[in-house]
């Protein structure tokens, strides 16, 4: 049953081949037996999931079922879930039971999807390997000595290991696409403003965007149909007509103009990744896609600019974690300053503290212009680069990551080398564009991701292009040994 995609499970539910309760119980059993090896879930919500599954089955019996009614899924533990701990992978929120649902969570509830649990993640979504979680690292199901990527590493691992048919993730600098690539699944970061940020714990507000993670582009489209939509509680949510992201999946890609960004194909990309990309490009050529090289002259500055903008915003966003109204509070504070510094010093992990300090510095008097303002200007240059490229081409294609999954502990001592694992994904967030990663092959037995980048609001085109690839290839069906 867990071999089925979301689309197939939805069909099976509709055909009454299986009930939501049976399906949910099946996944809960898999989680129980297999997740110890992965640590993909922080909290498993078996009871609530089964209750929701029963409600979904009732709804179906009464003819009130929607497209995904009864399909279980998982939420990254950054989305607030009413009555369920929402930890954000941090000791700071280990005791935080959210008093409300995130907008995205509400939408999945309304769609009738039982929630299996909350997935592990880098602390406050700051990390590219899932090693910064207070709940311990997540392991890559393809090789449990390796990282699954981050920060949505838990969601990626449980989808790859078939411990959930699909999951939500968030992407601030690559946090959906990079783990999707390293675990061999499909993930999409929508255009900034597509998906409500209400109730999604903020890391860097102008970059954060929730999105779907599943095994196929079609599944991502189905999940995005649920997730995307206007939310008046989020000032950055965009009011747009409802869109059906599955509608264009079958559109042929013949004649599509696809750009290959020069800086994405230079040195730094591992040979195994380069070979997989070449094969993928050949496959698309066979489908009639026209390729041309495009330049993104400022792409090389994306990572440095990002590591100013994101920490600056996070230093302010994380100021509310002060031990006063919720969350971790240190023992016996001797005065107010002690309450603040120890609650925050003990509640946050090392990487979060590093970024808060970098951001605090970048915004402080005397350094604001040289760091924060400079980064915002580079951000404009990068967005302008993309705008120029999209005058010539419809989609950009490149690698998602420079290499396959690295070993746990390999990069923890060198923050900068860790940051560079997002070198191909970060520019997309700075510009606010949609991007996705889909599995395109293996290198030394580990999954390699291909990244597609679209113009604003062009998710349907990206999903269609990915779907056309998956119609003719088998990479998205690969399952890691031991989790088949």
């Amino acid at each position: 049953m867990h071999e089925k995609t979301i689309a197939e499970l939805a069909a099976a539910l509709q055909a009454r081949e299986v009930s939501s309760v049976e399906l949910t119980e099946h996944y809960l059993r898999r989680i129980e037996t297999l997740d110890d090896a992965l640590n993909g879930y922080i909290t498993v919500t078996a009871e609530q999931a089964l209750e929701a599954a029963r409600a979904a089955d009732d709804a179906r019996a009464q003819g009130r079922a929607g497209a995904l009614t009864g399909v279980p899924m998982a939420h990254k533990d950054i989305f607030c879930t009413e009555g369920v701990r929402t930890s954000c992978g941090s000791r700071m929120l280990d005791n935080f039971v959210a008093p409300y649902d995130a907008g995205v969570v509400e939408r999945f509830k309304a769609a009738g999807c039982p929630v299996l649990g909350k997935t592990n993640m880098d602390e406050f979504a700051m990390g590219s390997s899932n090693e910064t979680s207070y709940y311990g690292p997540v392991r890559n199901p393809w090789d449990t000595e390796r990282v699954p990527g981050g920060s949505s590493g838990g969601s990626a691992a449980v989808v790859a290991a078939r411990l959930a048919p699909g999951a939500t993730g968030t992407d601030t600098g690559g946090s959906i696409r990079q783990p999707a690539a390293l675990t061999g699944i499909t993930g999409l970061k929508p255009t900034y403003g597509r998906v409500s940020r209400w109730g999604m714990v903020a890391f860097a507000s102008s970059l954060d965007q929730g999105g779907p993670m599943a095994r196929t582009a079609e599944d991502c489209a189905l999940l995005l149909n649920v997730m995307a939509g206007f939310d008046r509680r989020d000032s950055t949510s965009l009011e747009r007509p409802e869109e059906n992201f599955t509608a264009a999946l079958d559109r042929p890609v013949k004649g599509l103009r696809v750009g290959l960004p020069k800086p994405f194909f230079g040195e730094g990309m591992a040979p195994g990744v380069a070979r997989v990309l070449e094969e993928a490009i050949d496959h698309y050529k066979g489908l009639g896609v026209e390729f041309r090289e495009v330049d993104l002259p400022n792409a090389g500055l994306a990572v440095p600019a990002y590591y100013v903008v994101a920490p600056a915003e996070c230093s302010s966003n994380l100021a509310r974690f002060d031990g006063v109204r919720f969350g971790y509070r240190c023992e016996d504070p001797k005065d107010l300053l002690d309450l603040y510094t120890r609650s925050r010093g003990e509640g946050f992990g090392a990487e979060v503290k590093r970024r808060i300090m970098v951001g605090t510095y970048a915004l402080s008097a005397g350094y604001f212009d040289a760091y924060y303002l400079k980064a915002q200007k580079i951000r404009r240059l990068i967005a302008d680069d993309f705008a120029r490229a999209f005058q010539e081409v419809d989609v950009l294609l490149g690698p998602t990551t420079p290499d396959t999954a690295f070993r746990i502990g390999e990069k923890t001592d060198d923050p900068v080398s860790m940051y560079l694992s997002d070198i191909y994904t970060i520019a997309v967030n700075l510009a606010g564009l949609p991007g996705m990663s889909l599995p395109a092959g293996l290198a030394d037995g580990l999954p390699v991701g291909m990244q597609l980048i679209g113009n604003y609001f062009d998710e349907a085109r990206l999903l269609g292009m990915a779907h056309q690839y998956q119609m003719g290839t088998e990479w998205h069906r690969m399952a890691p040994g031991g989790f088949k």
């Binding site: 403003g193 500055l301 600019a305 002060d322 510094t341 925050r344 503290k353 240059l381 606010g432």
Partner: protein, 95 residues
């Protein structure tokens, strides 16, 4: 930009983060490394470029002036570390 221990201490204080004295050196090294990395930005000519604070070119939406939030104090204070008489408690504040 290379940060000294003193500067790290100052930043940590501004960010209200307790840092053990023995960790200052490590932070100074790591933060200096990150700053050196981000200073690659200096290579770009940004003369006359308008800073981009936001990826979307849109205007702030306005909400009608209508109170619509119920009192949920009990629910919110159930997750608070210290409350009394409906107030959040903190160590004494001196003005």
């Amino acid at each position: 930009m290379s940060l000294s221990r003193d500067e790290v201490e100052k930043i940590a204080h501004l960010a209200r983060l307790a840092v053990r004295p023995e960790d200052l050196e490590g932070y100074a090294r790591e933060l200096s490394g990150i700053l050196a990395f981000v200073e690659q930005m200096d290579a770009a000519d940004t003369e006359g470029v308008t800073p981009m604070a936001h990826p979307v070119e849109a205007s702030q939406r306005l909400r009608p002036d209508e109170p619509n939030e119920p009192d949920r104090r009990d629910r919110f204070q159930a997750i608070a570390p210290a409350v009394e008489a409906g107030l959040y408690l903190v160590p004494r504040v001196i003005e």
